[in-house]
Amino acid sequence: MKKIFSILLWTVISILGALAFAVLALNNGETISAAWLIIAAVATYAVAYRFYSKFIAYRALGVDDRRATPAEIHNDGKDYVPTNKWVLLGHHFAAIAGAGPLVGPILAAQMGYLPGTLWIIIGVVLGGAVQDFVILFLSMRRDGRSLGQIVRDEIGPFSGFLALIGIPTIMVILIAVLALVVVNALKGSPWGTFTIAMTIPIALLMGVYMRHLRPGRVLEGSLIGLALLLLSLWLGQHVAAHPYWSNLFTLSGTTLAQLMILYGFTASILPVWLLLAPRDYLSSFLKVGTVLLLAIGILIVLPPIHMPKMTRFVDGTGPVFSGDLFPFLFITIACGAVSGFHSLISSGTTPKMIQRESEARMIGYGAMLMESFVAVMAMVAATSLTPGIYFAMNSPAAAIGNDAATAAAKISQWGFAIDAQTITQWAKDVGEQTILSRTGGAPTLAVGIADTFSKFMGGFKAFWYHFAILFEAVFILTTIDAGTRVGRFMLQDLLGNIWRPLGRTESFGANVLASAIIASTWGYFLYQGVTDPLGGINTLWPLFGIANQMLAGIALSAATVILIKMGRARYSWITFAPLAWLLAVTLTAGWQKLFSPDPAIGFLAHAQTVANGIAEGRLIGPAKSMADMEKMLFNDRVDALMTAILIFVIVGVFLDAMRVCYQALIAKRKLELKEAPFVLSSGAQT
């Protein structure tokens, strides 16, 4: 009886999902409800979780609840703590969630809702969730070792070295691109800038409270911080209305960028309890808060989707990012489909807290499905806006000009009818001077949230907009300070090999030096992005996407090698298939970024155009002097070099991994697996 019911249930879910996909794909022209996107996603997740993740867990990996987990063996009350699986699911989700799945889908929406949504849903069940789950499992079998160590142990020292280069590289690009998202949200916005600026004194206050007044009471301190944050949000409105204060907090992109570099540097050298830790606590809450807010709003309102299923920009001429659907859609949406960064989290704190091996399935695979759902929500938020507004916000000034009339004319010409008055009205509604060219996704998402919330809360659109901006900016900014600190440690490890005193993390001089190097490295890319006429996101986001997928490539290479070493080669396609796809995507994208003859895509082609301009004494694009031209030329070459490094790293690791696979499969050598020894769990029935 139970079995028949189960078969019936899964048949219904599958049919429902298929029906939703049919509606999404066959719809021609009329607006459809967001419900179809959500049903298609949830039905696919459910089926994939129930069948595919179970197959991976029990057939391919062989999870064994008789085997004690690191949490049970070491139980040190600190890192290794057996934790309830639902709480741990929350912990893992809070650790992997970030700005990525909120930004990527919004940029990808320029091609219409269908391509991005399909990639998010299919990518996660066959790629992203598989990676997170398998790496979590493998790290759990190795006492919670990090990805870098696993790569070194199981593939070899050469790959370990490449991972050592690759991880800081992606870190630097990540910080720069996220900082750029915040700059684009805050420039010329006194309300937003004031609120974000206030988070610094609030954090200092919380820091003193939690260390000196009430030591260790983090929840208390955070509640006070949250209350003060809401207060400054309300105050911001009055700041924006006041002529003097409003002027003080209306900052240009370049000023904001300089302030941010200074902030990242300062936060990295100050004691953590004072600034970094309190901000980090606040931001963790706000991060989960943003996601819940978005989900609740969309599930209640179920807004209609106004964006067509595919726009003309699938041909690669879109204003938001340049390049064809293949490969650029697949690197624009990384987080939410496949995010290599998660492999660092899956080999971090979570594997040390799992109670039973089988629970890794829900935590690893399940949390990634949740993240994918967040990406679907972001897609809904972007595509439920009038397309004209979407393009007004996401196209760079170089494409649509600087005033509402020019922008409206240009966007209407693309086929998305909009008039200048509507654009100005939207800006006024959300309490901003302009919404033009607010690229980077965060403002579009905030407008989407504000629009949704004002519908069922009866107005207050401007408040909800700044509420959303505050939430997003705070948790994005934590990546900047925390990331600079992580980068500082990585660099000090490296420098310590050259001259020992530079590696001492407690030495103030070494600390300042390493922090300054890291902050100026990402600061360089940030500054380049801010001054870029195409808005920077255009250049930096693809680089970030390539870097992120490259990391996923490293993780999946390691997973494939280990499956083969475990004698489970016949299941190695589970990780090899997504690996092959990601290689195709990153290498094609990387190749085109380097060598495409189209200057809008290829860094070298663009460098050539600029170099020709310099030779002929002719200014190009935004350059106002020959010095600007020289700077553009240099930027192009640096970007090309970064791309080349990323390609070199992924190809190197892949070939090294294939070498090991060859030894195991064809040369039939017995290779040693670096798993922790089997210990019988005390809970196991004998």
Partner: protein, 68 residues
């Protein structure tokens, strides 16, 4: 009445413990419990020292992990 209050208190306690684990916050109560089980008779860290150790673990070398 008293029993209901007691139950509510326990529920709030469990909820805040869960929130602390989810966000990776220091949980002094849980530490004391663990300490009493595994190191009975020894003096545990003070609240302040425990918080400092937490900060060192979370933000020291190799402790920080951030995602995109």
């Amino acid at each position: 009445m008293k029993a209901a209050m007691e139950r509510a208190r326990r529920l709030i306690g469990r909820l805040s413990a869960a929130i602390q684990t989810i966000f990776g916050l220091p949980n002094y109560g849980a530490y004391l419990e663990w300490h009493a089980t595994f190191h009975p008779g020894e003096a545990p860290l003070s609240r302040r020292a425990f918080y400092d150790r937490h900060l060192k673990d979370r933000y020291g070398r190799g402790g920080l992990r951030r995602c995109c």
